[in-house]
């Protein structure tokens, strides 16, 4: 063999020429920030405008430089990247802003002594006035509202999950896309779009007619919430049951297993992780509902352990009344501190539920491994 090896070019390869250096985006970003600050200084500086102007300068600078060095294909790629990342940041902005605001305003309320362990029973404007004027601690808490939210949501879940799951099973396993199945699907879709206050009015009117006028209890609120929850549960369970491979059903039938046993022992266990996380997300969806609870469970300042009797507080209605009707109209600050604290607790609850949904999905997921 008499072939000669081409020596490896140490400095620049023919294959990598015409590329921007790796540090290019950082250089452009730095320049864009500086120039952006300079422009904003001329017309009056503010952080929001600085961000927007710098982002536009960065995109224009990077795309322009890339077009000059790398050609139009790479420049288009850079432009698309800038647009995608920019949209992502814009979408993230409100979320971060909400979490930040609630954290800043909510933490003082949350760490106030007895916030999680006491109710508003007997807390009057006198104490709030004292807290503002004499620096006494803010008393009163959300124990009753937290308890109410948990009870109402639990009962709503107990109603919605069997109804929703069984409807989904009917749609997927028995409906065969017939007239009834299509009607159910249509009405479930309509129900998904029902404004929550209408669900509340429905539950209230239903109980007024059946039990008696003025019936306002936790159970009525639970019915209202389940009207909102059922379509979500049906939809998510239906999707999960649909993706269970037909081969598994056939495998069970071929073993001489009856249809209902196949559904119970093969189809549902295979889909359970998706169903469980769908249910958890449905709970997260209704736990923050305010309007339907206001018209169905009223508002209470004291602890009520009975969902079937008496008005019941919940976190969203607690926030609503604390802001709208402060305990002391002269000094609303303690009330708004409690409202922010309750909002923080509500957000934490929803977050825990979402994390729980992931955990549930992972726990129940079909096992793999050797």
């Amino acid at each position: 063999m008499s072939s000669t090896l081409t020596p490896v070019r140490s400095k620049r390869s023919a294959l990598t020429k015409g590329q921007l250096p790796k540090y290019a985006p950082y250089v452009v970003l730095g320049l864009a920030l500086i120039v952006g600050a300079a422009i904003l200084a001329l017309i009056g500086f503010n952080a929001f405008g600085w961000g927007i102007v710098s982002a536009i300068l960065f995109a224009a600078g990077l795309v322009g430089w890339s077009a000059a060095v790398e050609g139009s294909r790479k420049a288009k790629d850079k432009l698309a990247t800038c647009l995608v990342v920019g949209s992502f940041l814009i979408a993230l902005l409100p979320l971060i802003s909400v979490i930040w605001t609630v954290l800043v305003n909510g933490v003082p309320g949350l760490i106030a002594p007895g916030f999680l362990t006491s109710s508003m029973n007997g807390v009057t404007g006198v104490y709030d006035n004292k807290a503002v004027e004499e620096g006494a601690p803010v008393i009163g808490g959300i124990y009753h509202a937290l308890l109410g939210t948990i009870q109402i949501t639990l009962v709503a879940t107990l109603i919605s999950v069997p109804v929703g799951l069984l409807s989904a099973i009917y749609l997927v396993e028995y409906g065969h896309d017939g007239r009834l199945a299509r009607a159910i699907t249509f009405f479930v879709d309509v129900m998904t779009g029902i404004p929550s206050i209408v669900a509340g009015l429905f539950a209230a009117a239903f109980f007024f007619a059946v039990v008696g006028p003025g019936t306002k209890t936790g159970a009525v609120a639970a019915v209202a919430l389940s009207v909102l929850m059922i379509p979500v549960v049906v939809r998510s369970s239906e999707e999960m049951l649909k993706i269970v491979p037909n081969e598994l059903r056939e495998a069970a039938y071929a073993l001489g297993v009856r249809k209902w046993r196949t559904i119970l022992k093969v189809v549902i266990p295979t889909a359970i992780s998706g169903i469980a996380s769908g249910v958890t997300l449905a709970i997260a969806r209704v736990i923050g509902e305010t309007a339907p609870i206001l018209v169905t469970a009223g508002f209470a300042t004291s602890i009520n352990n009975n969902v079937f009797g008496g008005w019941m507080a919940s976190l969203p209605t607690f926030i609503y009344t604390q802001i709208l009707n402060p305990t002391s109209p002269a000094n609303p600050d303690p009330s708004s501190q409690r409202a922010w604290g309750a909002a923080l607790v509500l957000i934490i609850l929803v977050m825990v539920l979402n994390l729980g949904a992931r955990l549930v999905a992972r726990t129940f997921a079909p096992k793999t491994g050797r």
Partner: protein, 259 residues
């Protein structure tokens, strides 16, 4: 523990569409019968009528008789579930239950039907079924691991063990090797040879060498054209079908001159 199957004048419909027309065939007990033919000729459809699995699809129905040792599977009052517990089936793609361990997959037919079984009996059944499926030595140390962790060939043998565990009279196999490599295919073919001592085996295959290797009798199905029903063209000893067929279409197909 095996029964013969006699089919008389069977028509299979999907809704108004006639998929398989006028099939009559006698399948011997304790033998291997192969169905061959081009794709879409109705051999899988026909196979599925032998344990009433085609009824799972909406609109599917059957005219004619399928007799298992003289009992009509489609007689009035016959429960398809009873039929299926006597005529097992293995599918084209291995389909172990993903939520179950290897052991539970083998016991699926028993456990899903909620039959009571003691742990000792269950252990014996699991070992016997996996032994019959030539899988015992490969999985005996990991019976509690999920069945989906096995290789494709092992999964298919697990599915065969699962079908054997309910002690059927007949085992239907719908292209059991089409998703497997040659070595796993060989393992399954050996297994089919062992199974015919105890069971009646019916196998659908696209692989003519496979039909020639494993079966005693072969049925050739064909279709006249798109939208026409599939028909049984010729049925006889495998030797005859491959070496000396009576019908020209069979000869063209088995010699590769088809179409």
């Amino acid at each position: 523990m095996s029964k013969r199957i006699d089919v008389k004048d069977l028509n299979v419909y999907y809704g108004d569409f006639l998929a398989v027309e006028d099939v009559s065939i006698n399948i011997e007990a304790k033998s291997v019968t192969a169905f061959i033919g081009p794709s879409g000729c109705g051999k899988s459809t026909f196979l599925r009528t032998l344990n009433r699995m085609h009824e799972v699809l909406p609109g599917a129905r059957v005219e004619g008789e399928v007799l298992m040792d003289g009992d009509n599977l489609y007689g009035p009052g016959v429960d398809p579930v009873t039929v299926r517990s006597q005529i097992g089936m293995v599918f084209q793609r291995p389909n172990p239950f993903p939520t179950m361990s290897i052991r539970d997959n083998v016991l699926a037919g028993v456990k899903l039907n909620n039959k009571k079984i003691s742990k000792g009996e269950a252990d014996v059944l699991v070992e016997r079924s996996l032994q019959s499926a030539n899988l015992w030595n490969e999985v005996k140390d990991r019976l509690e691991k999920p069945g989906s962790g096995l290789s494709g060939g092992q999964q298919q043998r697990l599915c065969i063990a699962r079908a054997i565990a309910v002690e059927p009279q007949v085992i239907l196999m719908d292209e059991p090797c089409s998703a497997l490599d040659p070595i796993s295919t060989l393992a399954i073919e050996d297994l089919i040879n062992d199974l015919k001592d105890q069971y009646t085996v019916v196998i659908v295959t696209h692989n003519m060498q496979q039909a020639a290797r494993v079966s005693e009798k072969t049925a050739f199905f064909n279709i006249a054209g798109t939208g026409k029903p599939g028909k049984l063209i010729e049925y006889g000893n495998t030797q005859t079908i491959f070496n000396n067929p009576n019908v020209k279409a069979t000869e063209d197909y088995v010699s590769g001159r088809f179409g």
